[in-house]
Amino acid sequence: MSRSRALVVSALLIGQSGTTYAETPMSYWHTYGPAGYPLTQLGWGLGIISIVVSAVIAVLLLGAMSHERSRAADDTQLAVGREGGGMGWIYIGTGITTVVLIGCMGWTLLTSASVVRPPSTPALTVQVTASQWWWGLMYTSADPSRTFITANEIHVPVGQPVRFEVASADVIHSFWVPQLGGKMDVIPGQTNVTWLQADKPGVYRGQCAEFCGTEHARMALVLIADTPEDFRAWQDDQLRDTPIAASAQARAGQRVFQAHCAVCHTIRGSDAAGIVGPDLSHLMTRRTLAAGLLANTPGNLAGWIADSQSLKPGASMPDHLVSGADLTAVVDYLKTLQ
């Protein structure tokens, strides 16, 4: 972002001086990948043209109201003696408008063409399944042993385009990581394809952008761009089976999990194989719980298990009326899912 643009941004963000990537994590004033750059550029271009047009019209309007005029002889006298006149305004104004407009249309078409396809063929495909109100993720690979499932937290290697195939398990959602690119709606009965690329390592926030029911407001996702080495390590981590519960406490917790949770959730390497809710294998590698709602801490985890309906009313995850001891045990078990 050039210096002058940065000035415009801070001037516009009244009361929010010094906006940064971290302070407005959903802002797309600045983007960090080739699926976003052309959009941002065109957005700035059309935005500045729009501001200039509005300002010119405001000045003309004020001028029209305030410029000097000869006085009327009396109240009944009209300002002109015949109906015609003033047509030059329409010819010149509309003429200039048309020229600018055609330029913008050309620029728009070229930009559209430039983001349809990624710069190189993506090596990685992530299948995203949106549900009320979370994101299921499947990392596919030609080698079936390298295919795995996770949820709500997308990792991608930095500097490489990634293909996303988005599908819905229920209603319409929209897949959106604003600092990397535009939206792609998730529509039942069809698989839409889009791509994103992060040029800078970091954490990018995303959120469902199409109203999808009562908890639409809290259907966030996190996209983490890792260095290729970190990504590879993360991928290997995810591919491992989860460790066998070692301590007695963890084994007790696993029994509770099997009784209460396994019908909906999967933990690879255990008997839990439900597919209604997010896959919880390697839960402890994720930063947030409940689609970006809570930081992933043991306290929040216990709270979410016991009291999900007051944290996210309407979510498919029911409140679990387990004893304090069982709750502690199951949290201790989940803490082993590294």
Binding site: Q16, Y28, L46, S54, L60, E83, G93, E215
Partner: protein, 646 residues
């Protein structure tokens, strides 16, 4: 030889409201008084006022809904509302403003003003006019009864499937919306037909098609647009109701249906509808501004053509609501370009208004301020629309607060501001009294500042990534401070609306008396009394130019319009029918008297839809029978109503 008149040469005479003939006219045109008269009236002025008042009540209800939502959003993590309450509020806010306020309020102006602008004594189909109002009122009540029961529509005003399908939304909420919209569609359709036929048939002699006020062009265009657009949405809602109640699968992907079909049908209607709720309002400005600029509108013909072409183009742009749905890039690029082209007719109108002010001699009344303020809001709402028309930019902007900002600049800027200005302008004609100018100017500034403080920051919130339709947001996203400003600004705007309402009530009682033509306006409505007599004109005016009351002052040739002398037509309820383009006198039209048939038919239709909603088939059957009987009573041939050749 029957005793029914089939031919008569109408008498041309000179008459005023004090003439003997006018007493006869008054007797013919006046209906019974009291509640009976109120329920059976077919007078366009009564119906127009009802439309205006009912639409304003809905505006206030919709505004209160918005005020509650803004309290919820003022800060991060507020807990004033449950998510479901919020969903019902934003849905009803949209439904109310778009369907129950924005078009009906313009129908109110048009119903009241059309015959007065055209020099006629009523609309072409006075009974249809009454039906259109009753059905509008009943569908509004229908939609709101469920709200008071806590099960209002809750999937947003565009109601995307499959969240609105029964599997995800099993309550009565969406059925109410679906049936309510089909019912409202009847009102819109019959109203549109009435406007179109009135334009083609009921203009004063000499008012050729190139002499009608721009408001007429706006409402005509909107009516033709609605006639083509409403069937799409009525069909879509009917199909949805079938899906929900009878297990059809039009939109059900799991059974081979298509969720995107809903979006196509909805927006094929929805986008033309947007033009239907702004073009008549733009017409209000194009007619009102010249009065206060003391000159004719600059570029009547281009503005009229721009009005029509905006609507024509408006039928080819619906996919710009669907750029992110995964349609092929070639397809969306066409719709992108078509949407951008609308900038051209819009710029014709903008430069016409500016030129009219520049080359005129503005009189800074409250109405003028609202019209001039509108021009700037029109441009801001226009350029933000132009930005969203660009596919790549829209992929970021769509479904964010940028869109919320854009649509409010369009609907408040281009509908509410002209409407309020229009009330200031025509209030003396409606009531015989002027509105308070001092309070009016305060109202303008409070509304204008409140609106911009409340709604401009929404653009920035959208650019900061805030999605629409979220009932809350977390801290740390940077949306808090601007949301607080939005809430405070929108409350200031609401205070402005309140000042306006106070002004209306105070001026009704204590307003300064207005003569026939307090603003020295040029069109026919200013030639009759304020408020107009029940028969509108003592004689049917004859028109020789676009500005009949300014003719002496504009050097436009020697032809003169005549408002004092013309067809008397004092033998019962009569007006003149003229030819479609040149407005040559053609026939004497006999107009119907007061009747309960429209009310009865309206009630029967409402009951029919209640029966459908409750699956009460006997109620539905009874309503069908009653509506058939009411239609028969309505359409029963009356010799007294047959046209008379001239």
């Amino acid at each position: 030889m029957s005793d029914v008149e089939t031919f008569r040469a109408p008498i041309i005479a000179r008459a005023t409201d004090q003439s003997q003939s006018s007493h006869i006219l008054k007797r013919s045109w006046e209906g019974p008084g009291g509640i009976a008269g109120w329920l059976s009236t077919v007078d366009h002025k009564e119906i127009g006022k009802r439309y205006l008042i009912t639409a304003f009540l809905f505006l206030i209800i919709g505004g209160l809904e918005a005020a509650i939502m803004r309290a919820q959003l003022a800060q991060p993590n507020e807990h004033l509302l449950t998510p479901e309450q919020y969903a019902q509020l934003f849905t009803m806010h949209g439904v109310t403003m778009i369907f129950l306020y924005a078009l009906p309020v313009l129908s109110g102006f048009s119903n009241y003003l059309w015959p007065l602008l055209l020099g006629s004594r009523d609309m072409a189909f006075p009974r249809l006019n009454a039906l259109s109002y009753w059905v509008f009122l009943f569908s509004g009540i229908f939609l709101y009864v469920s709200f008071s029961l806590g099960s209002a529509p809750d999937d947003g005003w565009f109601n995307y499937v499959p969240y609105s399908a029964r599997a995800f939304n099993p309550g009565i909420n969406i059925d109410v919306y679906a049936l309510g919209m089909v019912l409202l569609g009847i009102s819109t359709t019959v109203g549109a037909i009435n406007f179109i036929v009135t334009l083609l048939r009921l203009r004063a002699p000499g008012m050729s098609i190139n002499r009608v006020p721009i408001l007429i062009w706006g409402t005509l265009t909107a009516s033709v647009g609605n006639l083509f657009a409403v069937p799409a949405v009525s069909l879509a809602f009917f199909m949805l109701w079938m899906d929900r109640q009878f297990g059809t699968h039009f939109f059900d992907a799991s059974a081979g249906g298509q969720p995107l079909l809903w979006q196509h049908l909805f927006w094929m209607f929805g986008h033309p509808w947007v033009y239907a709720i702004v073009l008549p309002a733009m017409g209000i400005v194009s007619d009102g501004l010249p009065t206060f600029c003391r000159r004719p509108l600059v570029g009547y013909t281009p503005v009229a053509l721009a009005t029509v072409s905006t609507m024509a183009l408006g039928f080819g742009v619906w996919v710009h609501h669907m750029f992110a749905t995964g349609l092929p890039i070639m397809a969306v690029s066409y719709f992108s370009a078509a949407s951008m082209i609308i900038v051209i007719p819009s710029s014709v109108a903008v430069f016409s208004w500016i030129a009219t002010i520049w080359t005129g001699r503005p009189v800074f009344t409250s109405a003028f301020l609202f019209f001039a303020g509108f021009v700037l809001l029109f441009v801001i709402g226009g350029v933000s629309g132009f930005m969203t028309a660009a596919v790549p930019v829209d992929l970021q902007l769509t479904q964010t607060y940028f869109i919320v900002a854009h649509l409010h600049y369009v609907l408040i800027g281009i509908n509410v501001f002209p409407v309020v200005g229009g009330i200031f302008y025509w209030f003396p004609k409606f009531t015989g009294r002027l509105m308070n100018e001092t309070l009016g100017k305060w109202t303008f500034w409070v509304m204008f500042i409140g609106f911009n403080v409340g709604f401009f920051p929404m653009h920035i919130l959208g650019l900061a990534g805030m999605p629409r339709r979220i009932y809350t947001y977390a801290e740390g996203l940077g949306w808090g401070p601007l949301n607080l400003i939005v809430t405070l600004g929108s409350y200031l705007f609401a205070i402005g609306v309140l000042l306006f309402v106070v002004n209306v009530f105070v001026s009704l009682k204590r307003g300064q008396r207005a003569g026939d033509n307090p603003w020295d306006g040029a069109s026919l409505e200013w030639s009759t009394s304020s408020p107009p007599p029940v028969y509108n004109f003592a004689v049917i005016p004859t028109v020789a130019s676009r500005y009949p009351l300014w003719e002496g002052r504009l050097n436009q040739g020697d032809d003169r319009s005549s408002t004092q002398q013309g067809f008397l037509l004092d033998k019962g309820r009569e007006t003149i029918g003229t030819t479609s383009l040149d407005a040559e006198p053609d026939v004497i039209l006999k107009m119907p008297s007061n009747t309960y048939a429209p009310l009865l038919l309206g009630v029967a239709l409402a009951v029919l839809f209640i029966g459908a909603l409750l699956h009460s088939w006997w109620l539905l059957g009874a309503a069908v029978v009653v509506s058939l009987l009411a239609s028969i009573a309505w359409l029963w041939p009356e010799r007294a109503l047959s046209q008379i050749e001239t």
